[in-house]
């Protein structure tokens, strides 16, 4: 097929040790990635969804799915894969949720001839999946002593087993295709000790630091006794119109990319913030030299590293071999560490244990505060063996991560405090009887679903609303990236490159079908709970559901709303995504149609959550979001567009809190816009039938959950 698809999906039943396949075309309507996974998930679990309150349910299904653009030249898109299933992180219900990771795995899977993998059941003994082109084998972990290895050692063990120990550059015949050869090592996604020990904070790791972090999918792998999936492929991906694809990539470079000879800003992050972005240009403006760089990528002895096909190279490999490929919050576990080396070793340890970095950063903050308050420590109300006297040292980090990732003390003794850590701070607080009080004060900054706050819902409205209406911290920086450009300018004491009125005009023009609403991007206090705000949140759900979660455009580079290299500073979003998509698939998808497909996917997800038990009353923030004002700060200040006195301006929103009745009003507006029941939040049959999902309406009807 010359349309980007491999054409078949693997189905692995771990309980029966059965490997079957089905054609991707069965789900042709659902494109790939998240949408395709959600549709398969619904089909496989619809009869038990109403009792799936947590990812530990034995009939939970985990799905890894590529998109038709995977393995092609589409920039900041081709190397990513979606992970979907019921999670174990969110609270009170483990929602149907998702993660995503980059690197080589997605491309290798396509090269082996598979669009995705569906994993069901539980193995009797620990196994790993060995995919070599069309030859797919479930192997016992025992033969390689794989169970018990950390997330890096297990990958090295599998590399040696599948590809031998020869040097890079030598041909490998993995043996799954006639005349198939490659110089690559297999791509392996694996769990570490935390997954094996079924910790809710466990994630999946691939290569050095590609992680599917949220959801606790590492624990699901562990529970299913699936240690790793290895894939090596020697094929390729056939695209519909290779010339059109290359032309699109050259067009992007010509019209929307930086030129070193003509940087448009003295601020390097602004100057290169439009795709493509070479990570090597990132640096710490305050760093005076090695050892003095905190919280940012060291600028010495590095080269950029990228997911397959990506021009951005947003991460790095270092000559020291420490902290490789880490480019996000995993570098921030120990900003107070004794040295940069400790910070980078801490990052590596997080990867080896395969722990959710965002969760561990917040957990460490929380328990340190309790320790400082005299509440946690040896003999304290929360009796903890964790010694804080060497906080900031590598030894401290090692003890912390060992306990969180194994539920045991360093000597191997099971320990209740370590067990609490392995659940994450939210559930630990509940065990310690502190949850309600600490959520009220904000001492436990977990704003929604038992998940740490990322951007503050009191100021970054679309982020907070998107999260409570969904299943996880959305981690979608679309609008945040635009307002951040103004925040950077403010930080530097300069005027923004694009004034607020122009930025709002440009961004709004890319938001069909709501591009006619002049107030959709107003973050002012007067617009927090309105129908305009509901449209902003809805559009964001639709765009990301389709282009990021389903087609796999990388959140770190897309969308391109404002671009200082474009002649009128209007970025390529709306033009670029369909152009790449159509070149690969041979379809003729318009931008507006893509947003409508996003609405369909969003409605399917919402129906699944409803079947799991979601009701309007669940959809709320933690108390501190309503009761405690957002912290005011100097230094770097986040700005937002606000329409006041007939003018658009960038303003901070410090000191703001949300109003409970106001949020209820927002929910009513949002449900009305969606065509859901305003009292319950349940989807209506008419809405689902309009979206061509009558079978979903039937299932909801069977369980009394149609609106």
């Amino acid at each position: 097929m010359n349309n980007g698809y491999a054409g078949q999906i693997l189905r692995i039943d771990l309980s029966e040790r059965q490997i079957t396949t089905f054609p991707t075309s069965r789900y042709a309507d659902w494109v790939g990635g998240h949408a395709l996974s959600a549709a398969i998930f619904f089909d496989l679990t619809r009869h038990v969804l109403h009792e799936m309150q947590d990812g530990y349910h034995p009939q939970n299904v985990l799905i890894l799915m590529t998109s038709p653009l995977t393995g092609t030249l589409v920039p900041a898109c081709a190397g990513r894969i979606e992970v979907t299933g019921i999670g174990v992180q969110s609270h009170p219900i483990g929602w149907f949720t998702r993660g995503n990771f980059g690197g080589r795995f997605a491309t290798m899977l396509k090269h082996a001839g598979w669009d995705g993998i569906v994993i069901e059941g539980t193995a009797a003994t620990p196994v790993w999946l060995d995919i070599r082109d069309q030859r797919v084998t479930l192997r016992e972990c025992q033969e390689l002593s794989l169970w018990g290895q950390d997330a890096w050692d297990s990958q090295l063990t599998i590399w040696d087993y599948v590809a031998g120990k020869q040097h890079y550059g030598r041909w490998i015949d993995p043996g799954g295709r006639v005349h198939g050869r490659t110089t690559q090592r297999p791509a392996v996604v694996t769990i570490g000790p935390s997954g094996e020990n079924v910790c809710r904070t466990a994630c999946l790791i691939h290569d050095a630091s590609n992680a599917s972090g949220q959801g606790g999918f590492g624990a699901i792998f562990g529970l299913k006794r699936l240690k790793a999936i290895s894939v090596i492929g020697t094929g390729g991906v056939a695209v519909h119109d290779p010339r059109a694809l290359l032309e699109a990539r050259l067009w992007l470079k010509e019209k929307y990319s930086f030129r070193l000879s003509d940087l448009k800003s003295t601020d390097i992050e602004l100057a290169v913030a439009s795709p493509p972005v070479p990570g090597v240009l990132y640096g710490n403006w305050l760093a005076k030299g090695p050892g003095d760089s905190f919280g940012d990528r060291p600028t010495e002895g590095q080269r950029p590293q990228a997911c397959v096909g990506c021009h951005a190279g947003c991460r790095a490999r270092y000559e020291s071999g420490l902290g490789n490929e880490a480019g996000c919050v995993e570098t921030m576990l120990c900003p107070d560490a004794d040295s940069l080396e400790v910070q980078r070793r801490a990052t590596d340890l997080l990867n080896r244990y395969a722990l959710n970095a965002w969760e561990m950063v917040f957990t460490l903050n929380y328990i340190r505060n309790l320790n400082k308050a005299g509440q946690l420590g040896p003999g304290c109300v929360i009796d903890s063996p964790l010694d804080f006297s060497d906080y900031g040292s590598l030894a401290f980090v090692e003890r912390l991560l060992h306990m969180a990732g194994t539920k045991c003390l360093p000597d191997g003794t099971p320990d209740p405090f370590a067990e609490a850590l392995s659940e994450g701070a939210y559930r630990a607080a509940a065990r310690w009887g502190r949850l309600e009080g600490d959520l009220r004060s904000g001492e436990l900054p977990y704003a929604h679903w038992g998940i740490p706050m990322h951007f503050d819902p009191r100021t970054e409205l679309e982020w907070g609303y998107g999260t409570i209406l969904g299943d996880r911290d959305i981690n979608e920086h679309d609008f945040q990236n635009v307002w951040a450009k103004a925040s950077f300018a403010d930080w530097r004491g300069r005027e923004p490159d694009v004034p607020a009125a122009d930025a709002v005009r440009i961004v709004r023009s890319k938001m069909p079908p709501f591009d006619d609403d002049p107030r959709i991007l107003d973050y002012g206090d007067h617009n927090m709970y309105t129908a305009h705000m509901a449209k902003l949140v809805a559009w964001h759900r639709y765009y990301t559901r389709f282009w990021k979660l389903t087609v796999q455009f990388c959140d770190w580079r897309w969308p391109d709303f404002i671009n200082i290299y474009a002649s009128d500073k209007t970025g390529c979003t709306g033009l670029a995504e369909p152009r790449f998509y159509n070149a690969v698939t041979g379809q003729n998808l318009s931008y507006s149609q893509s947003i409508e497909l996003g609405r369909r996917i969003w409605n399917l997800d919402h129906a699944i959550w409803t079947l799991q038990g979601r009701h309007r009353d669940h959809v709320r923030f933690a108390d501190y979001i309503y009761d405690v004002p957002a912290a005011s700060a100097n230094g770097y200040r986040e700005l937002f567009p606000v329409f006041e006195d007939g003018q658009w301006r960038y303003q901070t929103r410090f000191g703001r809190r949300l109003d409970r009745d106001g949020v209820e009003n927002f929910k009513t507006e949002f449900y009305r816009l969606q065509g859901w029941n305003e009292a319950t939040g349940y989807p209506k049959r008419d809405t689902l039938e309009e979206l061509e999902m009558p079978e979903v309406a039937d299932e909801l009807g069977r369980h009394g959950r149609l609106g």
Binding site: M332, W491, G635, Y636
Partner: protein, 114 residues
């Protein structure tokens, strides 16, 4: 920038010690893509380290108050207040306050190297 007077041993000891929980400063480390990570600061050294971050976010009035009342370093608090009043750009303020606090930290460490 005029040099800071040498701190006495008592002041140096206060600046090098941790403050109790109720006197901690709450700040943030900000990134365009990471978002906002709370930083709970229990010592003068931790404040300096925060200011060495790429994009720190900390209330200057809170810092000045903390220096004046929690650490009782009146001279340093006055100098921070001067910078707050004189420098308009936030990055410039951050850099100047950072340099000032780094100097004070070096003075204290030289006095009480342990």
């Amino acid at each position: 920038m005029t040099e800071l007077t040498e701190p006495d041993l008592a002041l140096a000891a206060r600046l090098l010690a941790d403050v109790p929980h109720h006197q901690r400063l709450v700040a943030h480390r900000k990134r365009q893509r990471w978002g906002s990570i709370p930083a709970y600061l229990y010592s003068f050294g931790e404040v300096v380290r925060l200011l060495q971050d790429k994009q720190p976010a900390l209330s200057w009035p809170a810092l000045e108050h903390w220096l004046r009342h929690a650490l009782r370093d009146v001279e340093l608090a006055d100098r921070v207040a001067e910078i707050m009043a004189q420098v308009s750009c936030e990055q410039g303020k951050t850099m100047q306050i950072r340099v000032l606090l780094e100097r004070r930290l070096s003075q204290c460490r030289a006095l009480a190297p342990s």
